[in-house]
Each structure stands twice: as C-alpha cells, then as structure tokens.
C-alpha cells in the first residue's frame, strides 16, 4: 500500500473522496509517524491523538452517509501553537501560557474544522513567535529533519519540520517577519505569507498586529493553495481583514501547470536581496533557478529597492513596540501563569511583575524592553515614528518595482539552516537573518518560499522567495506551481524525497513488508 504519509494533501483528499482510504487510516498513519519520530524532532508541543481519530471517524461517517465534503475533508493538519484552539493548549511557545486552553477557536481554526480537516496537534515555535530558530521556545527547540544538529527555522520551525518530516501533510503558520517563509526555506518545504488582511488574525496570539499574518505550510504549492482557500477571506472579527472577493488560489496554482505558463512573465530580481552576505550555495542555486526561468520564457530584470537596507532596523522598532503593548495582557489576572513574589508584600503590581519575570523568556523580555523604550515620550518620533516613515518608503520601493515587473524574487534566506547555538548569543546576527523576508511584512504584500535545491557545500535546502503586489496572492500560486514543476522536472524528483529518513524502525517495517 502507498505510504500515506508521503502523499500530498491534494492526493490524500482524492483518495478520501473516492473511498480508497478512510480519514481514520490517514490520521492514524500520521499519528504513528509522529509517535515514531517526534521524540527526537520535537515539532509538536501537543499531539491530540484521540481527538484527531474521533474527528476522523466522524468525517468518515459523514462521507459514508453520502455527504459531499470539501477537497481537504479528512486530511490531517498541524496547527502552530500561536493559534487559539478550544480543545488544545495554546501556549505560543511560552511558559506564561503553559496549559492554557482558550475558550474559543481562532477564525482560521474554525474554518479548518468547518472544512472537516483533522487537527493533529499544536506545533512548536519561538516564544510568541520571536525568533528564527525555535531556540527561543520555552519548551525546547525543534530539530531540522535534514540535519538534527541544525535549526528548522523560526518562529514556525515546528510546522515546517512537521511537514518536511511527513508528520503532517499541511500545517498552519504565522508570519510576522518571515516565520512561515524562512522555516520553509531551511526545511525544503513550501510556505506562504498572504497579503496582510487576506487571512483573519482573530485568535492568533498577537506578536506585532500590523505585521502578523496567518498562512499555509505544505510540501507542494498546490497544497498551500488548497489550504489558503480554506482559511482565507473576510472575517468581521478582524477589523484589518480585507473585504475583497478572492479568486481560488487552487485554480491559480493549477493554471501554473499549463504549458508556457512562465512565458513572458516579468520577474524582478531585487538587487539588495542577494549577493554580499549570502551563502555561496544559496547564490548558486538562485542563479541557476533564474537561468531555468529565463530558458522557460520568463523575462528577468534586476530592480533596485534602495530603502530595503533600513528594513531590519525599522522592523525591529515596529515589532517590539507593538509587541510590548500586545504582551501587556499577560498579567496573571485572567488566565495563564500566576507567580507570587518570593518575599515582600503580595500586591497586584508585584504579582504581575513576578509572573512576567517568571513566565517570559529572555528574548521576549528583550523585545518588550526595546518596544517600551521606543514608544516612550521623547523617543517616539525618533524611533517608532521614523520606523513608520521607513515603512512607507519600503512600500514605495515595492510600488515602483511592481510598475516594471509582475513578481519579485530573491533567496528566501541568506543561508541554509544554521547550527543550534550559532546565533543565540548574538541577537543582531539572528535579526539580520530575516533581511530577505521582512520587507514583504512591512509592505503588507504576499510572499512565498518554495524549494530551489540543495546548497552544494552542505547539502541543505535553499528556498526561493517570490513576492507579488498586495492582493495578488493568486499570481504567487500560478508562478510558484510553474517554478515547482520546472525545478522538479529538471531534478527528476521532489526535493523532500532527498531528505534523510528519520525513523529506522519505520524503514525496517517497510523493508519487512517488501521482503
């Protein structure tokens, strides 16, 4: 029998629809694999095995009763722990929320349930999504399936690793400065940050409200599109949610598979997002991919975005400023950790302080302090105010670029996955790792990362980032599907099929079957 965990969500959906497999079988296969590999990998903070099987059973019953269900009905999914789930703890990777089960579902989670997907559990992340490696998770890091000594990216390293390691076919992530795209790049998976306002943030534990966006994590562009169609669209509970009608992203992705889909597409290479400071193998794969695109008929030009050089600085003022306010609610009064001071009077101020001291990790404290400072009277204009001006300049750079080209491309990250601890002691080095992904968040435009090969020097995945104008998410999927097809045809295989096997036991089992 086909190894169910290796199938795409689209293929699983097909098998489920025609009755070849049951959702219980598919769900159990993934749960078994999680049980086998996740002790080492640690992609999950919580696995809801019983609930997942029960939900799968109900979906099977509906289908057996003749109900017509959606394309992903019965397909398992992993959910980043930043999203509120009423039946699973939602900790955002923080001790301050350890064990907290929200009384409500995030809108995207509700939409998953309405579409009859099967939540497998909650995935690991840097605490409150602050980080690029999952090393800032209060519950310990997730390992990269390609090399367990290396980071899986962050903050959504758990979702990316779960998908790359075949623990789930698809997952939900959130992207504030690259938290979907950079983990996708370093794990050889696909991740999309939709247009700001394209997917509801209601129930997503806020890091930086003006930058956060929930999006799909998958192994194929088409799967990401299918998931995007499930979670996207207007939500009255999120005031920043766009009311625009959206085309089907899945249809857009299918359009990318047509012959000549790349012909005449104008691709801009952002001068400031490649070159110096980028790993040799990353540059090499990027150059090769551009050559393949040109050969397929795409028009490649270089465009300049002169203000991008200020993007990291602006981002690390806006994000901490908003985060310092968003994280004020973690005060022990209504939910989460409560810690009394070890000595002295037990006043509300002192309980709040003791709780926040005990509950927040060092990176969270660092950013709260930064943000509090940046918003202070006398500094506001110099820091937060200036950062907002930079944001406008970056949006103008994008506007100018998109007058000349349809899409912009760059490597998704300057390097392949780095080793644990390599950048932990140097926050600036960690922050600079986001240079490629941050501009899209500052401008609110959609971005995608998809695999473009392995770096020759370390054999680790390299990601291609594609960015489109605001609200043109469909264009990303058409192009992404076309590039994916072009590269896989060129390689003769998918990238993830080259990932090392994680569970020897499973290998023996299948060999036994073969024998």
């Amino acid at each position: 029998m086909t190894d169910l965990i290796k199938l795409s969500a689209a293929d699983l959906g097909g098998l489920l629809a025609d009755g070849s497999v049951s959702s219980v079988e598919v769900t159990r296969a993934h749960l078994d694999h999680i049980a086998a590999v996740d002790t080492d990998l640690h992609a999950f903070l919580h696995v809801a095995a019983d609930a997942a099987l029960a939900t799968a059973d109900r979906v099977d019953a509906r289908r057996a009763a003749g109900e017509r269900l959606g394309l992903l009905a019965g397909v398992p999914i992993a959910i980043k722990d930043v999203l509120a789930t009423r039946d699973m703890p939602s900790t955002a990777g923080s001790k301050i929320l350890e064990g907290w089960i929200p009384p409500y579902d995030a809108t995207v989670v509700k939409r998953l349930r309405d579409a009859h997907l099967i939540p497998l559990g909650k995935t690991n992340m840097d605490e409150f999504a602050m980080g690029s490696s999952t090393e800032h998770s209060a519950y310990g890091p997730t390992r990269n399936p390609w090399d367990q000594e290396r980071i899986p990216g962050g903050s959504g390293g758990g979702s990316a690793a779960a998908v790359a390691a075949f623990e789930a076919p698809i997952a939900l992530g959130s992207d504030t400065g690259g938290s979907i795209r950079q983990p996708a790049a370093v794990t050889g998976s696909v991740g999309v940050k939709p247009t700001y306002g394209g997917v509801s943030r209601y129930g997503a534990i806020a890091l930086a409200s003006s930058l956060d966006q929930v999006g799909p994590v998958s192994r194929t562009v088409y799967d990401a599109a299918l998931l995007h169609d499930v979670i996207g669209g207007h939500d009255p509970l999120d005031s920043t949610s766009l009311t625009d009608p959206w085309p089907s992203m899945a249809a857009a992705a299918r359009a990318g598979l047509a012959d000549g889909a790349l012909k005449g597409i104008r691709i801009g290479v952002v001068k400031e997002l490649h070159g110096d400071g980028f790993q040799a193998g990353v540059k090499q794969r990027f150059t090769e991919t551009l050559a393949l695109l040109a050969a397929a008929g795409a028009e490649i030009t270089e465009v300049s975005a002169p203000n991008f050089e200020y993007s990291v600085a602006a981002y690390y003022l806006i994000l901490p400023a908003e985060a310092s306010s968003n994280l004020a609610r973690f005060d022990s009064v209504r939910f989460g950790l409560r810690e009394n001071p070890t000595d002295g009077p037990v006043t509300i101020e002192r309980v709040m302080a003791a709780t926040r001291d005990a509950g927040f990790g060092p990176e969270v404290k660092r950013r709260i302090i930064l943000g509090t400072y940046a918003l202070s009277t006398g500094y506001y204009d110099a820091y937060y105010g200036s950062a907002q001006k930079v944001r406008t300049l970056i949006q103008r750079d994008f506007d100018a670029a998109f007058e000349k080209v349809d899409l912009l491309v760059s490597p998704s990250a300057p390097t392949t996955a780095f080793k644990f601890g390599e950048k932990l002691a140097d926050p600036m080095a960690m922050y600079l790792n986001d240079i490629t992904t941050i501009p899209a968040n500052l401008a609110g435009i959609p971005g995608m990362s998809l695999p473009m090969g392995l770096a020759p020097e370390d054999g680790l995945p390299v990601g291609l980032q594609v960015m489109a104008p605001a609200k043109q998410d469909a264009r990303l999927y058409t192009f992404g599907a076309a590039v994916e097809q072009l590269l896989e045809t060129h390689w003769g295989h998918t990238l993830l099929s080259r990932a090392p096997a994680l569970a020897p036991l499973e290998m023996f089992a299948s060999e036994e079957g073969v024998l």
Binding site: W100, A106, R201, G203, E322, S325, D331, V333, F335
Partner: protein
C-alpha cells in the same frame, strides 16, 4: 494626617484667580460594547457579558461599533465641534487589573471631534462660553471591588474582585480648554457646564445620562494663580465627581484648600484627588505629572475611522434643538414665571410637560400637576415622575377638571386610579363613580335636607349672614361624597334659603 485647612472663599478669590478645566466621560447607551458584540448592560452576574476581546484574552481583536461612532459624531456636532475627516484609535498603555488588555483603546492625536464650544447661562444671567478642545472615543474599564479593607479602597484590602461587564463599554470623553475668568462663579460654572452636557446627551438620546449610575462622570481640574501673575498654578484633578452639586462643592473646596496651602507658603502637588460626598472634602489620590508616559501609539488592530461628509451632514440633520434654546422657547411659549419654569426643569419634567401641553392641557395646569401631585406620588413610590403616568392621560385628566367634571380632589383620586392601571381618566371616573354631580335635582334634595336639619343656620342666612352658608355647603358636599361643584352648591343654598321664606 493633618486636616486640610480651608481659606474663606471670598478671601481666596481676593488673592487668587481660579483656572478650571473639565473632563466629562459620557457612557453611551449602545446595545453592544465599543469593540465587541457583548451586551452593554449590567445587572446579570459578574463577567457574564464578556468575550475574548473584552476580556483581553490572547488572540482577541477589536471591531468598532458603528452606532458608537454615530453617537460620538452627533455629540461632537451638538457641542459645535468639527468632525475629523479621518480619526484614529490609539492605545494608552498602563497596567491596571480593571483594564483587561492593560491598555485602554482611546484616541490621542486624531480625535473624532474637536474645536467646539458650549455657552452656558448662570443663575445670575451671566453667559459663559466654555471652549471644547476635543471629544474622543474610548472603552471603559471593568469594575474592581476591594474586599476586606476598611475603606473599600485597594490599600489594605485582603483581595479584590474584577467584573469586566463594564469593560469595553463605549465612552466619549469631552475635554474643555482652560476656563479662565470664572472668578466667584467658578463652582457654579462647573455645575452648570456638567448639567448642560448631561442635558445635551439626554436630548440626543446617546446616553442614559444618569450621573448617579456613572453614565456621566466628571473630572474637575482646578488650579489657582496669584493675582497679577500670568503663570498658571499647579493643578489637581478631582476624579469621578458624580452629581451636579458635588461638582460645585468640589470646585469650591479645591479653591479654598489650595488657597490655604499656597498662602501658607506651601505648594500644590500635581495629583488626582478623590471626592468624598459624605465629608464634602477631597483627599490625595495618585501623583500625576505631565511626564506620565502612556506610550500612546496608533491602534494597529483597527483601521482609521473616516466618516464621510455626507454621513456627518445626515447626522447633523438629526440633531435636536439645543436644550438651552429649547428652554428659552418653551418658557416664553408657556408664559411661566422663572421659578415655576425652573421647578419643571430641575424636576426633569420638561419633556413631560411639553408632551402634556401638546396633548391639549394648558401649560400652567400641566406644570402644576406634574410638579405637584405626580411628583409627590413618584417621590412616595421612589420612581421618576414621568414613569408614573403618560402625558396624554394627564392631559385628559386636566381636561376633565377644566370642564368641571372633576374637582381637584376628585381628580387626585382619578390619578391614583390611572396610576394603578385602572384605565384612562374617563374610565376611572366611570368605574369609580367619581364625576361631579352636575344635575341640580340631587343637590337640591340634599340642600333642603341640610337646611331643614339646621334651622339656626337657615335663620342666619335669611338675616343676611351669607358666610353662615358654609356649614350647609360642607354638609351637602359631605352628603355628596365630594362629588359636587362647591360653587354651584353655594349658589343653590342661597337660592333655596331664599325660596324657603
């Protein structure tokens, strides 16, 4: 702590010029809260009208209540304000357990309404124009109850309970410019200004406007500047003064307290102060400096509010007549004396009297009944007068009196019947059999009987001592159980006494 000494008010004004400023919070009476769909009402159990958004749970997000924007714009227009073409919410960051998010969603540099003014008239007839700096929208905090302490304050309490039902209720905060030149009228200016705001929000129907329930709350800023100086003194902010009389008293108290302190060489601490209704004093709250840092920044979870000019003009067209102008017009139209009219206004019965007059009653009778018998019954029942009886019913009652069908005394009985739900005044008259007997037949019979039983009185009348008829009239009215027109009875008594000769 040493008792604050007060300087004589007149003496204080000789030495110092008071400078005032008011921040009035108006709780809007929208059906739902400012930023979520929870009901804007109290009375059920604590924390029942709450959701992830107004509880500040992780992941909760605000949605703006359109009705609250509409009410704020109408209030802004009624205060003569400009309405911003684009207005933004901002976060005011501070930690306090009644503020679920640990920031208040308020407005900072882009309020919905600004640059207004309100002219008030003092009892002396002096007109004072209060400039309105801004009116901005924000959400209310929850309610803290401190248990175990002696004072009900957080200091010394064993524990505190938080009820977030009020958390997220829409407020409009109206901020005045500095009010200078108030002089000895300063306390009255405070009272009259807050009364005017209250009257406006009531007329607009945007708030229940009950100060005793905190629908309208006043923070009074007072500072003193020595005569001849042009440098502003340090101000205090007396918080949550919740009756008109208290506003007046609190301003007066602060003037006297600050004057005593300053003239003794002391300095005023910039601070909030608590008003104590029972002792009529203020006490120190928390220090408040201009450097208080709320780290305001634009609320990223909400988009700017950009009311179209068309909408603003539509709302302007819905504004009621300004209450002050309306009072002037009605007093002139009704021809009531100042005291009579003030009585109506102070009893909150302007609407009731107006509706009663509209239903056909004379203004004088409507005034008399509302401020007299109806108010008395309402006072006994402990309810608002205008909740007891409908204006058209009172007008019908007055009509019966003026037609001679009822005497005042009978009418009071009918009113009780109407209030008891026995029907319209006419129905009560019929069911209780209370109409004046206007047929002379039964009256003459009763008079003849009374005259016959009091021959000495009859003799006196015949001797020309007409005032002796009173005893007969009394007996007849008693026999008729009051259902007779005393004037007619008098006429008939004299007539019968004459014909009996």
């Amino acid at each position: 702590m040493k008792k604050a000494e007060l300087m004589d008010f007149d003496k204080a004004l000789e030495l110092y010029e008071p400078v005032l400023g008011f921040e009035v919070h108006v709780e809007l009476n929208t059906k739902t809260k400012m930023f979520c769909g929870c009901a804007n009402e109290f009375g059920q159990g604590a924390n029942t009208n709450t959701c992830p958004t107004c509880l500040g749970l992780p992941g909760g997000l605000p949605q703006v209540n359109r009705k609250a924007i509409e009410s704020s714009i109408r209030l802004g227009l009624a205060l003569g304000c400009d309405i911003a073409e684009t207005s933004r919410f901002a976060r005011k960051n501070y930690f306090y357990p009644d503020t679920a998010k640990n920031f208040q969603t308020s407005q900072y540099d882009e309020p919905i309404a600004f640059n207004g003014s309100l002219t008030i008239e003092l009892e002396s007839g002096r007109q004072v124009t209060v400039e309105i700096e801004r009116a901005h929208m924000e959400d209310d905090a929850g309610k803290l109850t401190h248990k175990g302490g002696a004072t009900g304050r957080i200091q010394g309490a064993d524990y505190s309970l938080v009820d977030y039902n009020r958390g997220g209720v829409p407020l409009v905060e109206i901020v005045t410019q500095m009010i200078e030149g108030g002089e000895a009228d300063s306390p009255e200016i405070g009272k009259t200004y807050v009364a005017a705001i209250r009257e406006i929000v009531k007329a607009l129907g945007v708030s229940n406007a009950r100060m005793e329930e905190g629908n309208v709350r006043c923070d009074a800023n007072v500072s003193l500047r020595p005569r001849g100086s042009n440098i502003l003194g340090t101000r205090t902010e007396t918080k949550n003064v919740n009756s008109l009389r208290s506003v007046e008293r609190a301003v007066r108290y602060e003037i006297q307290r600050q004057a005593a302190l300053l003239s003794a060489g002391g300095t005023i601490t910039q601070e909030t102060r608590h008003w104590h209704e029972d002792t009529g004093r203020t006490s120190a709250g928390r220090p408040k400096s201009d450097a208080d840092d709320y780290r305001y920044f634009p609320e990223p979870d909400l988009v700017p509010v950009a009311p179209s000019r068309e909408w603003v003009e539509e709302l302007r067209a819905t504004l009621p007549e300004p209450p002050a102008a309306r009072r002037k017009r009605l007093q002139a139209a009704w021809g009531l004396a100042n005291l009579e009219f003030q009585d109506v206004v102070n009893s909150d019965l302007l609407d009731a009297v107006e509706a009663t007059v509209a239903a056909g009653a004379t203004p004088q009778a409507a005034r008399k009944w509302w401020t007299g018998e109806v108010a008395r019954l309402a006072n006994v029942a402990g309810v608002a007068a205008d909740s007891l009886v409908r204006p058209h019913q009172l007008a019908a009652l007055i009509e019966l009196v003026e037609a001679g069908t009822l005497t005042d005394r009978l009418a009071r009985q009918v009113l009780e019947g109407v209030i008891a739900g026995e029907g319209t005044p006419l129905e009560v008259v019929e069911s209780r059999g209370l109409a004046v007997v206007s047929d002379d037949g039964p009256l003459i019979a009763a008079i003849d009987e009374a005259l016959a039983s009091q021959p000495d009185v009859l003799a006196k009348i015949r001797d020309g001592k007409v005032q002796a008829a009173g005893a007969v009239i009394g007996a007849v009215m008693k026999a008729m159980r009051g259902q007779a027109d005393a004037a007619r009875v008098r006429e008939l008594v004299l007539e019968r006494a004459g014909t009996a000769e």
